[in-house]
């Protein structure tokens, strides 16, 4: 009998032995070495062991009896330390063991990021039973907290398991969404939502700085200063093939042990398989290909012909309740077509990627029942042109007739529920229509259907169409853009009622048809999110028009204008000197006094922006936001300080207003003015909000304009004190921020909702006024900041990435 030595009792080598013993039980005398002090078990099932859903005994694949029946000499807990290819022996603590044939199945090692503190007790990787037991042990301490570094397959299974054991768990992930290698952003968002629903905190784009503690793990620190106290850190950031042993022995090793299609290494008597091998440039991390390798290797050992080939892989996550499926290639490209299906109510997302009438990739979340059907078509390269229209609905819909949505609604029984929020069924809506409600507003008023979250609006309209026949004209409200059928108003309402706090949430829950919007909708959505969720949502510069990203107005030649703020139009000799110096230093071609009572430096090169900002900052000036959909200027006149007619301190109030409002983002630009008397030298009657000072106090007008339309302000209210003028202004700006459509100036928005609607909320209802002003102030704690200063510190991002003209000249 030939002597077969196997290094590693893992998933792959276990399979080879099974195949061998089935076909040729007496061909080899097998000695099995394993570094772990145990035999083969199902490594995939460590996650259910961690979560408590299974015990270790249940996941053993080969028990003592099996090894005895097959006369395997077990050397568990004994790692191989060296291989002598010339003498054909392996070396371990127990001495030398000779072989005729050798199989290397050493798997891989978890990758540990060499962060400060990575070697503290309490930092664990996730690979074997010992790791799993160590995690279970820590989780049993009362109040224990865990930080999982890595939001991939392994990290999330660890996080879910620890959470099920009652730990407080935070997952840190470096990419923008979870499992970015298997999922697109939409599916990543749904996964995150489900994990958060079970109490797991997820931080994406997290950059871990250090692990800290005195003799054991006490906390994890992030680069942004966040501190996460914890007793356990699980590092699940990736694996490295375990190939050192083979390399030291002199076998050919690239990224892993090089093998041919028969699993033979560079030495004819040595074979390798599993995660420790590299075949034709591929390395492996899931069991499906390893099982194929095991079949091939068993044949090779029996001198039969077989070849290993690399196949498409599908991924699933073993976290109960998070159903996801991903296979093939789902990157976007021009020659590919996407079919996207979203069912916001059920949290379902499916995306198929087609190329030349074949399915090449699929990502699914929520409902993965058809995953294997799609996977089969990816592997087989099935031509799907015939079933393209219904493909995404899965095998159940193939061969059936096309469905007309109206006839589907007509077929619904009277007790079918239409509006989930308000529990309204079709019969009630039909009754309302028969009672005289002939449009959406009428249905909302009588039944409340579609009046809450609004996702059933389309259905209600279809019921109207079916019931009224030709008498009903489907409303054609203008949608935001071609990415959605919803109007701005719908989107704003849904962001609030469904608490959508990220762009991904909007795309998914509102059924966007593009992966990340377009240049029309993204700036609007970005504004709506930051206005409604100032603390939760982080402003996204990449969703802003160039001016708001580069904090200057782009000119036709690609240069920019720089306008420092002059609060209330007041400046000083020192500020003017700094502006003059900056104009000299950066060769500013034009210096102009603007219509907004301040100075514009026009024609600054992009590379010079950080420098000029730095210099102006040093003189105490901040950005004037002359480019923003936000507060622009507060013009003032000289008022009581100097003017013989002045009734109040108009300049002082203007400065206070500008200090209150600066930095805030609004649906369109907002301009204010304060005049000291009705002569109105500051032109306050044509501003978005203008205040005229009179003896008895302050007359506040809103909705003025002097641009493409000329509009006089309408009186919002008269208030006796400066404090009230400030509070009313903050409340007005906030109600405008919370309700207006993106790119509606206040006068346009007021024309839609009515001045009375605004007055009720900002003037009459004092409590609501205070609440609005408080919400404005909360948002300002984030946004009342100079955008120049942080960007001036990142000057390199304004310079070209590289200058190859210099290189070529050398």
């Amino acid at each position: 009998m030939q002597k077969l030595v196997v290094i590693g009792a893992g998933m792959a080598s276990g399979r080879v032995l099974e195949h061998l013993f089935e076909t040729a039980p007496d061909a080899f005398d097998v000695t099995l070495f394993n570094a772990e002090p145990r035999g083969n078990y199902n490594r995939l099932m460590l996650s259910p062991v961690l979560s408590g859903e299974k015990s270790y005994a249940e996941i053993i694949t080969h028990g003592d009896d099996w090894y005895a029946d097959n006369r395997v000499t077990c050397r568990f807990g004994e790692a191989i330390e060296g291989i002598d290819l010339a003498r054909k022996v392996v070396k371990s603590a127990g001495g030398e063991t000779p072989y005729d044939k050798l199989i290397i199945g050493t798997g891989s090692n978890p990758f540990i990021i060499p962060l400060p503190g990575h070697d503290l007790p309490g930092v664990i990787s996730y690979r074997d039973l010992d790791d799993t037991n160590a995690m279970i042990e820590t989780s049993s301490r009362p109040g224990a907290r865990a930080v999982v570094i890595g939001g991939g397959l392994l990290g999330l299974e660890a996080a879910a398991g620890l959470r099920m054991r009652g730990m407080e768990v935070t997952v840190l992930h470096i990419a923008g969404h979870l499992m970015e290698r298997q999922l697109d952003a939409a599916a990543g968002y749904l996964l995150r939502r489900d994990l958060e629903a079970r109490g797991i905190t997820v931080i994406t784009q997290a950059s871990t700085q250090s692990i800290e503690g005195d003799g054991k793990v006490e906390m994890v620190k992030l680069a942004d200063g966040t501190e996460l106290p914890c007793e356990l850190v699980v590092m699940a950031v990736g694996i490295r093939p375990s190939a050192q042993l083979a390399k030291d022995a002199g076998l050919a090793v690239g990224r892993a042990i090089t093998v041919d299609a028969q699993m033979q290494t560079s030495d004819p008597d040595v074979y390798a398989l599993g995660e420790c091998v590299e075949f034709a440039g591929n390395i492996f991390g899931l069991v499906a290909p390893l099982y194929d390798q095991a079949k091939v290797l068993a044949k090779t050992l029996m001198n039969e012909d077989d070849v290993f080939t690399v196949k498409e892989l599908a991924t699933k996550l073993k976290v109960t309740g998070c159903d996801l499926f991903s296979a093939g290639d789902f990157a976007e490209a021009d020659d590919r077509e996407d079919i996207v299906f979203r069912d916001p109510a059920r949290g379902v997302y499916k995306r198929l990627v087609l190329k030349d009438d074949r399915l090449i990739g699929a990502v699914m979340y929520g409902d993965t029942a058809d995953g294997n059907w799609f996977f089969g078509m990816i592997k087989d390269g099935t031509d799907v042109s015939e079933m393209r229209d219904t493909l995404i609905f899965g095998p159940a819909y193939q061969g059936g007739a096309a469905v007309d949505p109206l006839s589907a609604v007509a077929a619904l029984p009277a007790d079918a529920e239409i509006c989930g929020c308000n529990g309204v069924c079709k019969g009630q809506i039909v009754t309302a229509i028969e009672g005289g409600a002939t449009d959406l507003a009428g249905i909302r008023a009588t039944t409340k259907a579609s009046a809450s979250c609004g996702t059933c609006t389309g259905l209600v309209e279809q019921v109207l169409a079916v019931t009224l026949g030709d008498d009903f004209v489907m409303p054609t409200a203008q949608s935001v853009c071609k990415c959605t059928d919803l109007t701005h108003e719908d989107v704003r309402r849904l962001i609030k009622s469904k608490e959508l706090k990220s762009q991904s949430a909007v795309w998914q829950e509102l059924g966007w048809t593009t992966p990340n919007g377009c240049h029309v909708c993204r700036p609007a959505i970005n504004f709506y999110l930051l206005a409604d969720w100032p603390l939760e949502y982080q402003d996204d510069p990449q969703s802003r028009f160039v001016n708001e990203r580069n904090h200057g107005n782009i000119q036709k030649d690609g240069t920019y204008s720089v306008v420092p703020r002059m609060f209330g139009g007041i400046t000083t000799a020192a500020e003017l000197r700094a502006i003059a110096d900056a104009a000299d230093k950066y060769n500013v071609p034009t210096v102009k006094v603007t219509g907004g009572q301040r100075i514009d430096l026009l024609g600054v090169k992009k590379e010079d922006l950080p420098g000029i900002w730095y210099d102006l900052n040093a003189a105490g000036m901040v950005s004037g936001h002359a480019y923003s959909k936000g507060l622009r200027t507060v013009k003032t006149c000289v008022g009581t300080d100097h003017c013989r007619f002045g009734t109040q301190d108009s300049t002082g109030l203007g400065i206070k207003l500008e200090k209150l409002l600066w930095g805030s983002w609004t649906p369109h630009k907002v301009k204010l003015a304060v005049s000291g008397c009705p002569r109105n030298c500051a032109e306050a009657t044509c501003k978005d909000l203008g205040i005229i000072c009179v003896d008895s106090g302050y007359q506040v007008g809103v909705g003025g304009a002097a641009g493409m339309d000329l509009k006089e302000t309408e009186r919002l209210c008269d208030v006796p004190t400066e404090e009230e003028a400030l509070e009313v202004t903050a409340a007005f700006v906030q109600i405008y921020r919370e309700n207006a459509k993106y790119l509606d100036r206040p006068y346009k928005w007021i024309a839609k909702v009515g001045l009375d609607w605004v007055k009720e909320r900002v003037v009459d209802d004092l409590e609501n006024r205070r609440a609005l002003a408080a919400r404005f102030e909360l948002s300002q704690t984030i946004y009342r900041k100079d955008p120049w200063a942080p960007l001036a510190a990142k000057a390199e991002s304004f310079a070209p990435l590289a200058d190859l003209t210099l290189e070529a000249a050398e």
Partner: protein, 110 residues
């Protein structure tokens, strides 16, 4: 081909761009939401707008000056607008961005 390293992938924000100056003019390196990288001419054929400053959506960019939309894959203007921007070979290797210098020189010679 002569691949040269010009920076790290992370130097470009997702759905953003950075410029590389070359002898054939400024080239914009775009990084899309799904982390693919494209190199195209930075100059809009309409009135010379800097495309690197546009909003990136899917594999397209919208020019910041007058909203022409270009495919980053083919360089073709989309919709009713007619125009074409040059595209260049770019590779990402271990997180580094590589441009083909030979291609840049060939174009300048041509």
């Amino acid at each position: 081909m002569n691949w040269i390293d010009i920076g790290a992938l992370t130097d470009i924000p997702q759905r953003g761009a950075r410029v590389v100056k070359t002898q054939v003019g400024c080239i914009a390196l775009f990084r899309t939401g799904d982390d693919q990288v494209f190199a195209v001419s930075d100059t809009c054929p309409h009135k010379g707008g800097p495309l690197s400053e546009g909003i990136v959506h899917g594999h397209q960019v919208t020019c910041p000056l007058h909203n022409w939309v270009f495919s980053l894959e083919t360089g073709q203007a989309q919709g009713a607008d007619k125009g074409q921007i040059d595209t260049y070979a770019v590779r990402v290797e271990d997180g580094r961005l590589m441009l083909d210098q030979t291609q840049l020189q060939q174009r300048s010679a041509a």
